[in-house]
Amino acid sequence: MNQQNESKGAGHSDSAATNNSELQAQREAAVAALNLVKEKKKSIVKHLHVPWWQDPVIGLLMAILVIHHAAPMPFDIIIVAVGCIGMVLVLRHYTNQALWVSGWRKGKTRKLSYAFFIIYLVHLFGSMWLNNQGEHWIIPVSAVSIFVITQIYGRLWMSTWRKEMEAEDVS
């Protein structure tokens, strides 16, 4: 009887050891998979190339899209068309890379994009209103302001995105 109990006990401890080693193997595989996901997330950073001229060109286009209303018709419409075509060409150049990351992607960068969009609208309608009130100085001031803000936004967006990609979590 005692011998039977001993062999049962040994059987239990064997299967417990097997279960434990299986669990350990599963755990190690899961950790390895999570590390691989982390590594791939980090590797994206090196593929997104933003040429030096991109932010200044976007800044200029934003500036003309803010102050277009100050030009007489039909130049107003022509300036808007030039601004829009310019934006399309910049985006096209950007998508010629093998990777596309939207400015409106989920994460902290989306908040920056919303903030920038609101600032753009404030510049556009603010300069329109003040210009109509006879405050013509607002035109060059708002153009320079949106240009500078675009440069800051571009850099801030990239550094925030990089930090997010290089973060240790894999969410």
């Binding site: 434990n20 669990l23 350990q24 599963q26 755990r27 595989a29 899961a30 950790v31 998979a33 999570l34 691989l36 996901v37 791939k40 997330k41 590797s43 994206i44 593929h47 093998a98 990777l99 596309w100 990351v101 939207s102 992607r105 990609m165 894999v170 969410s171």
Partner: protein
Amino acid sequence: MSAELDPVIHPVHRLQICALLANADEMEFALLRDELGVSDSVLSKQIKYLDDAGYLTIRKVPSTGRPRSWYSLSKDGQRAFQKHLDALRVIAALAT
């Protein structure tokens, strides 16, 4: 939280594809291939599994020579990948 791994995503190449696409809006075939370090045919096969499961959105863009294929995770793919990561975290956190 359940620890159910997604059999479509679990194989290492498909896991890498999902990890890359989850962090980019779109990625081109050649970049995916180079990142995974596999041949065109291997990548095509892995992509087909993900596409058949409804996890991918594919966009073909005309180009000089062959059309360029761009891939992104579909809504279902994003959800499945997130669930898969949650399951991996649960397993990784199990006490030994």
